[in-house]
Symmetry: C2
Subunit: 340 residues, 2 copies
């Protein structure tokens, strides 16, 4: 567990001249938005800032990074030119996206750790871990506190993070402060249409076809209907040329169904199975459930990778979900959800 | 075209002792939220207020009306007990939901007209028609200006309207003011989880099955892929026991696809075909297109009912859409959308 100090982080960010910014592997919208947003803010302040991103980001976010021009690899001598590395939205040190040549502990420069995952376990020179809707929201707050200029481009990137991680202001992490930050970002010139078109209205045709087949063939129910999940065979991905790294939002197809309290996705990655879980009811959080197996995330949105084939992973997790949902089942579950 | 005067409307609302509140036929989330929200605000001020709603609302909104207890019919003598009728979110007089016994012109009491459809053509004693994200937003502004108390229940209803009409802050009508109103509604105690669960996470199982079949079997493309539409046979509805009145959001399944600029739905209602159109690009508005045929709505979201079978309606509208999209086609269209 790390200390949580926005002032220390801000002081450090105000004292540096050159920064590397990094985030977690398999970057999502908040990783891309918060990291590229901070890079643009720093550059606007006259600070040298580079985005270090060893892997490609999902297609829908690619155009947001064009002007930022991420670097893929950094040698020890290249790293020596920077005062610090800012790590954003990365809850665990082993998930930092630094390429095959580096681990966080080996880095020859101090780490500034900023994250909204409360279970963040990164060791850093300074850390700010706080309950916020998105890490982009924390970058916005730093900029607002320090009075840093938000260009329209930086505002667009921070809005991308905020929109992605709140499900466009639908998830339970949506606070009045998140709404007010969105208002301020629009006023700073954020291109909301571009963000929304990328996140919600740019579903590739093959993804729609993949999803249609998933809904037709892979759905299963448990806990009297309050648990809806899908076990996806590898050939489903192959047939539609679909990569789950581009699949943010697929689980919402299950979550959105009436009476569902917990939604789950299971898919094989070689000998492992990746599991994503979402809860719609704060009384039945999935975060603690996956942590039993070494997973992580938020109380209502969490995931874990198990060294099991998909059917066995589904059996193990399904047993835990049934236990968790215990009292809720079928019509009763439906009633409890709709009557609160 | 009506005059637009928020002060006159506010003065009238402050001078009445008993109000009937009505909205448009086939009420959606903004109709339900703005009308029931105003009723609750008035009752809290000690004003007698009744919601006049002759028809049932979509299933997902029903629980929001329980405490308000709408009246289905009002006789002339019952109407005589009220000082005025407030008509909310209703762009055209013939669409006012007053049951088979009344038209707006025959009503024996003055009409206060409040609407965010700029093409509103209602004649009224006082009118306020303005560009806002939702009519619920206008009710919120009246309450904020007048200093009326917003109970958590009223705030929940206004948030329902705002969330529905902005597609949870994704559509182009989302302004900084809309975000700030949402923040204030949350602070007034709005139950966001209930609103979001009703609008987005309460899809009936039969609707999911209906949609899966629609996506598998009914999609068609025009304008080189930038127009995506579905012609839905009546038996599709019958097989899934699905009523399009519960189908808010179905068109988003088409709109969300990459490269699509205009999305359309066509379905038969007896000898008529109902057409819904959505645009993703302000350069290609669908509002003017449907107005040629007597339809209405907003620039980016509009509809019309044609006295034609679905295939012929699709041919007529498709011709207009192809003309409108003219320059945009296939990869070019895709590029124009993704590059802005």
């Amino acid at each position: 567990m790390t200390s949580s100090d926005d002032q220390a982080v801000l002081a450090r960010l105000q004292s540096v001249r050159a920064l590397v910014v990094a985030t977690h592997e398999k970057p999502d919208g908040d990783a891309v938005g918060s990291a590229a947003g901070l890079v643009r803010i720093c550059r606007c302040r006259g600070i040298r800032a580079e985005l270090w991103l060893p892997e490609p980001v999902p297609l829908r976010y690619r155009s947001f990074l064009e002007a930022v021009a991420p670097v893929r690899t950094l040698s020890a001598s290249a790293l020596a030119e920077f005062d610090a590395l800012v790590l954003l939205d990365c809850a665990r040190p082993e998930r930092a996206a630094l390429g095959p040549e580096w681990t966080l502990a080996q880095l020859p420069l101090p780490v500034i750790n900023i994250d909204h995952h409360l279970d963040n376990s990164v060791s850093a020179a300074v850390s700010w871990v706080a309950e916020r809707a998105a890490t982009a929201m924390m970058v916005y707050e730093l900029a607002a506190t320090a009075g840093w200029t938000l260009t329209p481009e930086a505002a667009t990137l921070l809005l991308l993070g905020l929109v992605t991680d709140t499900g466009s202001f639908r998830f339970s992490n949506t606070t009045p402060e998140a709404f007010r930050a969105a208002a301020a970002l629009l006023e700073a010139g954020a291109d909301q249409e571009r963000v929304v078109n990328a996140v919600y209205f740019s579903k590739p045709r093959n993804q729609q076809e993949f999803e249609t087949e998933l809904l037709s063939r892979c759905l299963r129910r448990g806990a009297g209907g309050s648990y809806l999940y899908a076990v996806m065979p590898e050939e489903l991905f192959a047939r539609h040329h679909f990569d789950m790294r581009d699949g943010e939002g697929v689980i919402d197809l299950l979550r959105e169904v009436e009476g569902v309290v917990i939604a789950g996705l299971f898919y094989a990655r070689g000998a492992w199975t990746k599991v994503s879980l979402r809860s719609k009811d704060a009384r039945f959080p999935v975060g603690p459930l996956v942590r039993k197996f070494g997973g992580g995330g938020h109380p209502m949105a969490a995931g874990v990778t198990l060294e099991l084939p998909p059917e066995e992973a589904a059996a193990v997790i399904g047993g835990e979900v049934e236990k968790l949902l215990g009292g809720v089942s079928g019509e009763e579950g439906k009633h409890e959800i709709s009557s609160r």
